[in-house]
């Protein structure tokens, strides 16, 4: 008798547990307003990344096409993956001294692991995070970027 009783209580509990599970999925089925999916390419206009989002390393330029990079190469040594190459140029100053300035700040996005050590180590805060995240390209060479814009120069008060 007892075993028959357990047999039926087992069935009862099993069915009950199954129905609790079905209640959860059933509730979500009938509450489509709880859907969390984002419609990605359509919501491009309203999609705003957080300020701190690490999309890529950029070198901010001001309105006069001036940046803050001195070309010291600390970021190059700080980078664990060799994704930054700094090419310097020697120029002759008006007073006859030779001075190193930056020629090209080459950034290989394809090798970057977004650890942030270059930005943290930069003594003149020349680098920053950019919010761009759509990096897919058809040609790998396009992922190698030159961060200082053509014709740009170093900001006066940094250079001193």
């Amino acid at each position: 008798m007892n075993s028959i009783f357990t047999y039926f209580t087992e069935i009862f509990h099993a069915v009950k547990s199954l129905l609790t599970g079905m209640k959860v999925t059933g509730r979500y089925f009938f509450s489509p307003w709880e859907i969390v999916t984002q419609q990605y390419p359509e919501n491009r206009k309203t999609l705003k990344m957080y300020d701190r989002f690490k999309g890529e390393v950029v070198m901010p330029h001001n309105g006069n096409n001036e940046h803050r990079c001195t070309g010291c190469g600390i970021c190059e040594t700080a980078c664990p993956n060799g994704s930054i190459e700094v090419i310097q140029n020697k120029i002759e100053m008006p007073d006859g001294k030779k001075k190193r300035i930056i020629d090209k700040h080459i950034y290989h996005l394809s090798m970057c692991t977004f650890c942030g050590l270059c930005i943290k180590s930069c003594p003149s805060d020349a680098l920053a995070w950019g919010q761009e995240f759509e990096h897919a390209v058809f040609d790998r060479a396009k992922l190698t970027k030159i961060l200082n814009k053509p014709g740009s120069s170093i900001l006066k008060d940094i250079a001193e």
């Binding site: 547990s17 959860v24 969390v36 957080y50 701190r52 989002f53 690490k54 664990p80 942030g116 050590l117």
Partner: protein
């Protein structure tokens, strides 16, 4: 007249039937290859073949400075990236005898616990999927998204953060961080009931996991099965309790120990742990002291010659970092004792004599992350 060829007669019953689970297989969570010898549906023995994602992180560490190593540890157990970072940071701070500000300790502890919850949520969804309940996967990921949003707002990335540096943090937390965590706890306390309704209480899930894949306490210790999987067998291995770091000694939380050591107990340990982590978060989130977010460190970090060991409790078990330093800015030898590596070594022992469907469930409950095994 053709000669009659006598083919050797083999007893089919005695022949072993090997199947490959992985490296490409829906249930191995990554590129792990398990060569399973079957007899019918029953697993006779099992040989794990690792190395499909071996990147030589230990060798790479020998060429990197200590701040650079941090971003490599992210890529071991990518689901508990913060906790891996924490291990290396603590080790460097211990070796240099640096006192990090109290604020840093609080933030690190909070972020570690958030990371633990996120990791367990992902475990829950993949475990549900291993059991065949696909819906779990989406619920778990939906809730994990909330934590990733908090991470993204404060640290800028969602999975591999490199947020800790030796001596402190990369940057201070975002002003919205505390509010975000509190909102998340409120939200997740509601949603975790769905988890229980959908999977924990389910009779099919209980029948499939109870009494399956048992590992005794002695075996768990001997195999070095740590983390929730070890605690399910009654092995008190919570590093947060026994060798506290961060501010875990100030937080009030329980180290929950199981007894049965089966798949269901391992499942329950993680469900409890998510709740315990939320308890820790609730205690700490309002008490973050003001102060610096990093201690003053030298520009080039050189550890004094000698050897150092640091243990932390990662989401899947005990993570140990062993460093032999010769006084240079790069370590002489760096060894990671990864939790999944030891947990995997017990898989053969656990899964002998179970059915092939149980093997998938056991694998899910051990929750291995392959890059952490291979490193």
């Amino acid at each position: 007249m053709k000669e009659v060829i006598n083919l050797p007669v083999k007893n089919i019953e005695e022949e072993e039937y090997h199947i490959n689970m992985g490296p490409q297989h829906p249930s191995t969570h990554g590129v792990l290859r398990l060569v399973v010898s079957l007899q019918g549906e029953i697993v006779k023995s099992l040989k794990p073949h690792c190395g499909y994602i071996h990147r030589g992180i230990e060798k790479m560490c020998e060429k990197d400075t200590y701040p650079q190593i941090i971003h490599l540890t992210d890529r071991m157990d990518y689901l508990s990236a913060h906790i891996n970072n924490h291990a290396v940071c603590l080790l460097v701070e211990k070796a240099l005898e640096v006192d990090v500000p109290e604020r840093v300790k609080y933030i690190r502890t909070i972020v570690d616990e958030l990371n633990r919850i996120a990791s367990h949520q992902l475990w829950w969804c993949s475990f549900g999927m291993d059991m065949g309940g696909l819906t779990c996967f989406f619920y778990g990921l939906r809730d994990r998204e909330k934590i990733l949003d908090i991470f993204e707002e404060s640290f800028g990335s969602r999975l591999l953060h490199s947020y800790y540096t030796p001596g402190g943090l990369m940057m201070d937390i975002h002003p919205n961080f505390q509010k975000g965590v509190k909102d998340f706890i409120k939200y997740f306390r509601k949603k975790i009931k769905d988890y229980d309704d959908l999977l924990t209480g389910n009779i099919i899930m209980q029948l499939r996991t109870k009494g399956v894949g048992i590992i005794s306490k002695e075996d768990a210790i001997s195999y070095g099965v740590t983390g929730p999987s070890g605690r399910a067998s009654g092995f008190a291995c919570d590093v947060r309790k026994h060798h506290p770091y961060g501010v875990y000694d100030k937080a009030d939380f329980k180290e929950i120990l199981g007894t049965a050591g089966d798949t269901f107990e391992r499942y329950m340990m993680r469900m409890y742990e998510m709740r315990e982590s939320m308890k820790i978060l609730e205690q700490l989130i309002d008490n973050i002291p003001a102060g610096d977010y990093a201690a003053k460190m030298k520009a080039v970090i050189k550890l004094p010659a000698g050897e150092y060991f640091q243990r932390v409790e990662a989401a899947r078990g005990e993570l140990g970092v062993y460093v032999v330093s010769d006084g240079n800015k790069t370590p002489y030898r760096m060894k990671f004792r990864s939790p999944n590596f030891s947990n995997l070594s017990a898989l053969d022992h656990i899964s002998r004599g179970v059915k092939i469907a149980d093997l998938v469930a056991i694998g899910g409950s051990l929750d291995y992350v392959i890059p952490d095994i291979d490193r």
